[in-house]
Symmetry: C2
Subunit: 384 residues, 2 copies
């Protein structure tokens, strides 16, 4: 096992009805800015439920945080929060709303241009405390300290993280996911799946527990992901997926092991230039990535084949091929297409994607920090 530091102070309130417990989690007397996206939490009644639970607080609202939250939008919330002397933020939504709220939390007290938090990894010395009410299990943002923000003006999608940016608490009520559109449910399953893979499918590192936990999360996503589409109001399934997606990226399974994240980096450029959903980009990139890097990932691919897909027949190359095919098939079974062509993206789009990677410094990716732009180009080509 590699040396690691693990720290995660987010309090999880899991279960139906837990929004009612919000008042005792928010500091008394706080001026609270509720942040959210579109109208879905309004239509589902979640916003009203949150407002009611916090009726003794001074509440403000900021709506309109979009998928792949934009710097441009978030800075409007920062201005509102500064003007109204907000001292607590409450994100109500999915990973985009929570990611965006992390940026707002860091930007409010930031001295200088907040874009530097992303572009120059400027040092964060304080952040407004915040919590979340999760409505879309996918990103794990509800229990980690990272966020990804997009600047539309310059086609940048950049990540940042800081220990001050763990949510103080997150409410995970599975019933709040019943009304999600199937596409978002499927995207969430794919997203969580690839989060696990990025921390698991690297090279052996004497980390038996992390491996078992990762495999447990993958097996659970494979079992319950399709069920969530078939039985939207199955509480057990929705609850399992919600907790699985949180555990997929809360630091636990990635502690003490090599991490990859190249699939995410290649995916981000597809979102920025072509507008694909985040999970769609992962479904496209991952099978190609595994194929391209099968020799460096060989040992773990064989372990993945056996323990996750129960593939024990055929020689090693065949089992690896089958495991990659099963992965692709799983995404397709959730109706998330896995080829660039499925999204109308042609091969001639690849040079611009590679140029974006270069501009963002993504020239030595992966668990060995040696996955080059040439490799990335081949992955995009394999994904065509």
């Amino acid at each position: 096992m590699q040396n690691f530091t693990f720290y995660n102070p987010t309090r999880i309130l899991f279960g139906a009805g837990r929004i009612a417990n919000l008042a005792r989690e928010v500091p008394s007397g706080a001026r609270v800015l509720i942040t959210y996206g579109g109208g879905s939490i309004v239509r589902a009644g979640t916003l009203a439920e949150v407002r009611n639970a916090l009726k003794d607080f001074t509440l403000f609202e900021f709506a309109g945080i979009e998928p792949n939250p934009s710097y441009e939008t978030l800075m409007q919330a920062v201005e509102l929060a500064r003007r109204e002397r907000i001292d607590f933020l409450l994100a109500v939504g999915g990973g985009s709303v929570i990611d965006g709220t992390k940026f707002i939390a860091a930007a409010i007290p930031f001295t200088g241009d907040p874009w530097n938090i992303l572009a120059k990894r400027a040092r964060i010395v304080s952040a407004v405390p915040f919590g979340s009410v999760l409505t879309l299990p996918a990103t794990g943002s509800e229990m980690n300290n990272g966020a990804v923000i997009t600047r539309r003006a310059s086609n940048d999608k950049l990540a940042f993280m800081h220990d001050l940016l763990f949510p103080r608490f997150s409410v995970l009520d599975p019933t709040k996911t019943y009304t999600l559109p199937p596409r978002q449910v499927a995207n969430g399953v794919v997203d969580a799946f690839v989060h696990v893979i990025e921390q698991y499918l690297t090279y052996p590192a004497d980390a038996k527990v992390q491996d078992r936990f990762a495999e447990g999360l993958l097996l659970t996503l494979i079992e319950d992901g399709p069920k969530a589409l078939q039985e939207p109001e199955n509480y057990a399934v929705r609850g399992t997926l919600m907790w699985t997606a949180t555990l997929a990226l809360n630091g636990l399974i990635g502690a003490g092991v090599p991490n990859d994240w190249a699939t995410h980096m290649l995916g981000h450029e597809l979102t920025v230039l072509h507008g694909l959903d985040h999970a769609q980009t992962l479904a496209v990139v991952l099978p190609a990535m595994l194929h391209e890097r099968r020799s460096e990932k060989r040992d773990k691919l064989l372990q993945y084949a056996e323990r996750v897909w129960e593939l024990r027949e055929g020689d090693e190359e065949e089992r690896i091929d089958q495991a990659i095919a099963c992965t692709r098939q799983f995404f397709e079974s959730l109706h998330v297409p896995t080829r660039l062509s499925d999204y109308g993206i042609k091969k001639d789009a690849i040079p611009a994607l590679v140029a974006q990677l270069k501009r963002h410094g993504m020239v030595a990716l992966g668990e060995h920090n040696n996955f080059s732009l040439d490799g990335s180009r081949r992955v995009y080509e394999l994904a065509a």
Copy 2:
């Protein structure tokens, strides 16, 4: 899944050499009381390493915290800490030292008789902050908020917990476990194993992830437990066991599922009246407990048989018998005997054990809160 709240703010510093990072974890200017047990951390050089890492702090020491730490001993540390205006505690040792330090931390600022923290579950409103340097993987105390304290004068062994009693940090350096006596290594494996079982082997609760995680921990203990005895300086094995034991009781796998803990309660009385090591009591009680309660635990026993022991032959009763036999055999393979008679305890000792359970209110134990004194008596008899 049951509703749950999960919260665990302990920072884990894992790996060889991490004691060197202690200084930045302890509040600057703190008056630190280092608490420990016997001479093993002196002989192994760990105490000197800790002192050196904290050389810029004002250090005090309290030695002599015994296995199954006693109220009588701990109150001496409380007096010392009050006299010297200690504002940070650092436990260096195993679960007993850390448990004892939790009591010291709570008792220092406590108004009234600190015994009431245990006997009357008196409300804790503050605690002195503390960290730990773990030298014996077993109890999970390094990453949870609970402790078990014994009062020798009255033959009481009682538990308490509070969110103020999470260690601020715990250093987990696997090399510090190389010189442990084999009996303590084996005890640690058994202790962690039974911790997992108490949170796993109850009844199905739509908690797929918790089940997979628990099974992963059990499989890992079965694989690496014996290896730690055979190869004491195998870093990978020691590291795996250390992290496994921590995860076995840090709240994660027990969140959202029924918990049992009857085996622990019956075990405590064996320690108090007959002086068995904690893990020895668990090795004695668990196989008998599973046999006695095989019908209420039936579904999970079958799952345990298949997923942990790969038992797929024979009818259901046979598989359950085999799983219990495998469990017993695993403990015996670690040289931890599993019968009361192995420790010289005869059947005529059972009424006194049952009377102790009654005195401590342990009359409705288990995941259904209905496991009676009659059941406990039968378990002790089956364990003879």
